[in-house]
């Protein structure tokens, strides 16, 4: 068990700063997700922690020890790659045994460990096969078993679920989550999928353009975004951001509801909404529309639960929508960061 820490970590490729000053501290045994759009530097950051890329500046600590210039094998880490990177010419048994052979473990012990790791992921019966004879889900489990078998201090996972089909991904997510909670090994998990991040992460580091924009629990980054990037990246549809004076006013579509749904509460901000289009998604309805002139007729979205039956909403009509005051967030226009609330 160990925690991972980066201090002012940077990686330059020519003039491009792929990672531009990242300071994160993981907690022991936690599931920390690095979330961001493609090209935000999250994989480069993970590869630096693994020792596969040399940092241009800054330091990496694992278990309190500086490992910045140490080779991968001395860092006590295990990594699962997006492509799984199984050794195609070896059987599954040999694939899983490979990290143990590298530390010259006695044969009987290797055998015991391989069988233990294989049983953890239910792949005992596949040990004699070659990777090409396995399905995507099975390959992913082999990759995890190979990472687990040497009992690393830190797991590094680089989009391990992105090559699975959508159905399998949901069950693999569940399995991976339970596995991580079971072994309690510090895990850094890179993904661009916010569902994976929200569902599995103890904490999420939202990254953009080589920097960490916010590090917090799923609830914090979702409900309390620290800047407009985080607000706009998380959620589907994302937070409405409306310009008012020198602020962006942000509110989540699922909190942006007809006035009646907030009951008698007076602690709400009212926004009359001119509805232009309605998408019925089954579980809820997305209401697209525009605010009044006061907000420059800014387009916004509301996510209306099916439980709303007070009256029917039709395109073309204008309805009184509102957001609880505590759910309205304010961001400064000049830098996108959170700012003091103003009255609107």
């Amino acid at each position: 068990m160990a925690n991972v820490e980066t201090k002012g970590l940077e990686k330059h490729f020519g003039d491009v700063k792929a990672v531009d000053g990242v300071d994160i501290v993981s907690r022991e045994g936690e599931f920390l997700v690095l979330l961001g759009p493609s090209g935000c530097g999250k994989t480069t950051l993970l590869r630096m922690i693994a020792g596969l890329e040399k940092p241009s500046a800054g330091d990496i600590l694992i278990g309190g020890k500086v490992v910045t210039h140490l080779p991968p094998r001395t860092r006590g880490i295990a990594m699962v790659f997006q492509s799984y990177a199984l050794y195609p010419h070896m059987t599954i048994y040999k694939n899983i045994a490979f990290p143990l052979k590298a530390i010259s473990m006695p044969k009987e012990e290797i055998d015991k460990k391989v069988k233990w790791a294989a049983s953890m992921f239910g792949i005992d019966r596949l040990l004699k096969r070659k990777p090409r004879e396995l399905s995507g889900g099975e390959r992913q489990r082999v990759a995890l078993a190979r990472a687990l078998v040497r009992e690393p201090n830190v797991f590094l996972l680089d989009e391990p679920l992105s090559n699975l089909d959508a159905k399998l991904r949901a069950s693999a997510r569940e399995e991976l989550y339970r596995f991580q909670k079971g072994v309690e090994i510090t895990t850094l998990y890179v993904t661009h999928d916010q569902v994976e991040a929200m569902g599995m992460g103890d904490r999420i580091a939202v990254m953009n353009k080589g920097t960490v924009r916010q590090l917090g629990t799923p609830d914090e980054v979702y409900s309390d975004p620290s800047d407009t990037f985080v607000a706009g990246f998380l959620g589907s549809p994302p937070m409405n951001l409306v310009k008012a004076q020198d602020r962006f006013v942000g509110f989540r579509p699922e909190r942006f509801l007809p006035r009646e749904m907030h009951g008698e509460s007076t602690d709400v901000e009212s926004f009359p909404l001119e509805v232009s289009r309605i998408e019925d998604l089954g579980a809820s309805r997305l209401i697209y529309g525009r605010l009044k002139e006061r907000f420059n007729r800014h387009p916004v979205v509301a996510n209306l639960p099916t439980s709303f039956t007070h009256y029917s909403i039709e395109p073309g009509g204008t309805y009184n929508f509102a957001v609880p005051k505590k759910d309205v967030k304010f961001f400064a226009v000049e830098n996108g960061l959170r700012a003091e609330p103003i009255s609107i």
């Binding site: 199984l86 490979f98 590298a102 990777p131």
Partner: protein, 314 residues
């Protein structure tokens, strides 16, 4: 719509010449397109090969006009000849020693050149030179380098003090040295192509797999022998197969450098076949000598392709 006389419609009608139905027919077009290759192979490879088979089973000579079928008696008589045995032994020695050296050197070169460094393309181009130059010219250059009187190699080694003042080896004039020289020149010639094939094989290994091995704690040699080499094996085997067949059937280097001498010490089956069949006019004997390795090489080819297919990855 409803109006069939559109401009496009007209153009399609115009394009339908008298033979266009033939060109549109895959059963006709396919064989037509492949015909040049088939004719080429049949005329320039198939026909001479069949002729060689026919000659080897006869007692035909350059001067004779009759074809007498004698079965395998030509083969039986050439096997008895000591010259043939020497040539067979030399062929095997020449082929395997030079291929072994080529594989090891090409692998090392490829591993070096796959790294990033300044002037990488210049070095790669330099190494490719022997392959780009006409082989006969290259070998004539070597003939000069290994000359018994004017050898620049000897001069250089003597001047640098590596050879004593009286030490002046006759590279092409002593049996052992001549074979070593032939092998060296052949390695020089085969190395560029082998290295390029190895480079391609190295580049075909996904970076993730090398990274995974690094993270899994494998050191340089474990990665080399347990990941890189096994994953390159199919392409290496194909390279070795071509190398063996090419080496066992090549004649240029020997013809230019030693003409099989001294004392037949560099005589191989192909040069032996050339001197027997063309110079001495014994067409049957020459054909039998040349074809002697045919079943062996065929077996090597089939064997290698089988292994290559079995170890194919993903």
């Amino acid at each position: 719509m409803g109006h069939t006389d559109t401009p496009t419609g007209k153009m399609i009608m115009k394009g339908q010449g008298r033979f266009s139905f033939l060109v549109d027919n895959e059963k006709f077009l396919g064989p037509l397109m492949i015909a040049p290759a088939v004719i080429y192979v049949l005329a320039l490879v198939g026909y001479p090969l069949i002729l060689a088979f026919a000659y080897s089973l006869s007692d035909i000579t350059v001067g004779s006009v009759e074809y007498n079928f004698v079965g395998f008696s030509t083969f039986r008589s050439i096997i008895e000849e000591p010259e043939f045995r020497i040539a067979l032994k030399n062929t095997i020695l020449f082929t395997f020693v030079s291929m072994a050296i080529v594989v090891v050197l090409a692998k090392i070169l490829a591993l070096l050149l796959v790294q990033d460094f300044k002037g990488k393309f210049f070095i790669r181009a330099l190494i490719l030179m022997p392959y780009v130059a006409p082989i006969s010219l290259g070998v004539i250059g070597w003939l000069w380098m290994l000359d018994s009187i004017y050898s620049p190699i000897n001069w250089l080694l003597q001047r640098t003090g590596l050879f004593g003042p009286d030490f002046w080896p006759m590279w092409l004039g002593k049996p052992g040295l001549a074979m070593a020289s032939i092998i060296t020149v052949h390695v020089w010639r085969m190395l560029p192509l082998a290295m390029i094939i190895m480079l391609a094989g190295l580049a075909s290994i996904p970076k993730d797999i090398q990274d995974a091995a690094l993270v899994d704690g494998a050191g340089y040699f474990r990665r080399l022998f347990q990941i890189t080499v096994p994953m390159m094996l199919p392409i290496m085997l194909v390279a070795v197969l071509f190398g063996i067949v090419f080496t066992a059937t090549d004649i240029i280097i020997i013809l230019v450098l030693t003409r099989g001498g001294p004392y037949d010490s560099t005589q191989v089956l192909v040069s032996q076949a050339f001197y027997t069949g063309i110079d001495a006019g014994d067409l049957a004997g020459g054909a039998a000598t040349a074809l002697f390795l045919f079943p062996l090489l065929l077996a090597v080819a089939i064997f290698m392709l089988k292994i290559a297919r079995r170890s194919e990855v993903t």
